[in-house]
Subunit: 504 residues, 2 copies
Amino acid sequence: MKENSLIKNKAILELLDKYQPIWSLNHLITLANWDIRTYMPEEGIEARGNALAEAAKLSQTLFLKEDFISLIEKAGKEKDLNDHENAILRILKRGLKFYQRLPRDFIEEYTKATNDAHLAWKSAKEESNFKTFEPHLEKIVELTRKKAKYLGYEKHPYDALLDEYEEGLTTEEVEGYFNSIKKPIAELINYIKKSGNYGSEHALEKIKYDEDKMKELTKAILNLIHYNMNHLRIDTSSHPFSTNIGKGDHRITTRFEGKDFARSYSGTIHEYGHALYDIQSHEDLHYTPIGGGSSLVIHESQSRFWENFVGKSEAFISLLYNEIIKANDEYKNYSPREIYNYMNLVKPSLIRMEADEVTYHLHVLIRFEIEKELIEGKIKVKDLPKIWNDKYEQYLGIRPENDQEGVLQDIHWSDGSIGYFPTYSIGTALSAIWKIHLENEIGRIDDLAKSKDGIGKIQKWLKEKIHRHGSTYIFRDIVKKMTGEEFSSRHLIEYLEEKYKRLY
Amino acid sequence: MKENSLIKNKAILELLDKYQPIWSLNHLITLANWDIRTYMPEEGIEARGNALAEAAKLSQTLFLKEDFISLIEKAGKEKDLNDHENAILRILKRGLKFYQRLPRDFIEEYTKATNDAHLAWKSAKEESNFKTFEPHLEKIVELTRKKAKYLGYEKHPYDALLDEYEEGLTTEEVEGYFNSIKKPIAELINYIKKSGNYGSEHALEKIKYDEDKMKELTKAILNLIHYNMNHLRIDTSSHPFSTNIGKGDHRITTRFEGKDFARSYSGTIHEYGHALYDIQSHEDLHYTPIGGGSSLVIHESQSRFWENFVGKSEAFISLLYNEIIKANDEYKNYSPREIYNYMNLVKPSLIRMEADEVTYHLHVLIRFEIEKELIEGKIKVKDLPKIWNDKYEQYLGIRPENDQEGVLQDIHWSDGSIGYFPTYSIGTALSAIWKIHLENEIGRIDDLAKSKDGIGKIQKWLKEKIHRHGSTYIFRDIVKKMTGEEFSSRHLIEYLEEKYKRLY
């Protein structure tokens, strides 16, 4: 790698040079995973699974090469590394630790198991039959418990899993976080219940739409919200996601259920928020392990920021209104204000991805509790449908009627992503911190979202404070550095109370 | 690798085991190349180019590992290898030779140059401006001449390039082949000219179509012609191609020009012919270097077989007729017979991919002559537009009016594929040999193409004689083994004379 505006240390540059084959493998693996979820012919999964398992082994081999390890050690002795250089070293050391601790055979077995499980989950969900997914999930839980042991932890095996998605996050901290929001959220729901409108349905939920027309609206959203469509594409997948393939190559997906268009709308804007973080990462961080966002909490703070504060604002809905009503003649019967009300309805729902801002955190809490107990071995995979449904009844007062709208709804476990869910809620809390500070500095989002120009200002602020750093900082550090605050759920709760006491 | 029905030798199995990371890289690289031409956001090309260059170096590193080389040597001492085992060894030795002779830096430079050139070609073609592509092509010709030197050759540097695409093919042989067809084709064209109908246009050429409806026809073609759409997908790209990503994952592309639907139709069926060869390769050859077709002459004999003998037959057009007329109301005014006439019109044209079966070979000849002289250094890249146009005037009696319909029309040179074109014509000659023998054994294609069942019989025959062997045999050997004949252009000429003297 050549010296650039951010990375100047010779030892780090030498290390990055040797990192390029690993970077290249990551690039190809990321693309292959995108392809599995978008365009791969069904029968291609066996070969793809084998290719990914081999590539993971190859990546490990490259990491564990003696000359690579000694370059990491050499760079570790450097003094006066800047934040970016330190972060590169920190993340490569993390990667090394990961590969040193996880045996080759284990990685291969794990990669194959998750590939198989993903496919099994897909058809199990289609058929709404947990039984066909059960043996796969059992395997994944077993392998994940092994993984926690291999990776090591101080207090709780779940710590090792959390750390994979958010460096340093612990079970204790997550519990503390949920304890800080449980009560105020329950109280807010009670407040809304008293209004008599909790759980009421909106007519727009029932209106069916044509998928092709909704695709046009999706394009219109991106054309309005984003400034360059030559580095961003959108496709359809059963579970929306965002992926950062490399410089100039960012992809998101959305899905179309045929009715209740807020789901597709919110999904698109959510994934866009993820993509923008990667897109606006400093260009001199490309080809390094810190190019693009990697902290999931920060990532989620971006996707939830766009989804909730911009996408669901009356200002943005008004700005997009002409495009919205092109998607369906019936939408014309609803004013921007009414669409805003529809998009901000609070009600207990079965599907996390469609949950409102208030009850959302309870969906995440349910998953956290289940994952923790699965890893502790306190509950069994075969009992999950019942446990899941009981918890929905306990926390949200409703009970799924089948596995599809219950335990099978999320893709995560099929991919082996256990320990990931808490970042959704914590990231949302972080988004509220960004909101307060952005508004103090450049004005209310409800005003900015009225125009393309204002949206550009939001993008610029986020770039400056967060995006350009890529994954240089862990979430606690970046929030401290950029806002002077310690992370807490305080702003989230204040925001929710202010907004929903106004609406109900 | 586990012992299977075709591969039993322990040394070969051991070798294949070590080959798996290379296989996996090939898989990921093939996908990444498909993506460049189909869905990659424009600005992703830099990162993709770097990733592919790194992956090529990585592949070379794996090939040149001492333990891999010694396994190849060990397997080379085995006696009683069967044809498949021998072919695996032969192809790995070829790969090894390639990597031993081409320096690492050269491969990297070459990969990057072709990635850049591909993009430059794309926009140069759009703008019909050879000048912007010229420096890229100069670089590619320079690198290709270097490549020929590195790879080595006995008589002619172009031999080294031909060998890359068709093992053992020489410049002398290609010249001999073209000499054998030049005169009879010129005579056939003269015959057609005397009929007074040479070069006449058909009204169907002018009829514009709706792209979405034509996409539906494309799907209908594949649904009719193929037996399983869970391992085959079709997309759109500016230059149609077929790619074999792995077991159960086959992809073709087509293009839509908005009129003259035979182009899109023929392109789809042509690429399908390629895909079927890979699809019907024996499943125990997957994950080996001979899984799927690799000989380009055999490959082209399959694509041209389906395009010319099945796709352009009156029987198949009749079978598909109801779908054809769904694509455009105006098509209803033409009977299957008239569509057949339209699809089999002989006329001088500027675009190789749209050429009829008779003049097609002259398009290839022009490219062969140009490539040979470029490699010999007798002509210069900057003079290509004029040379190209002069040759079209000389051989076909027409002159391109711009670079887009002239020297910029093909993707090949931008990809560094110099030495590839001759396989198109030779492969077509081979397709005529298959035709004769298939018809002697199971009946006339004009009868078989009348029904899905008959098409199934054609697929089965091709599988048995050709496809199942993957790339076990080089084209001269497979034709000898399966038909008892030596390869020649005799059947091609007989077929063309019979068909076109009947039509004109």
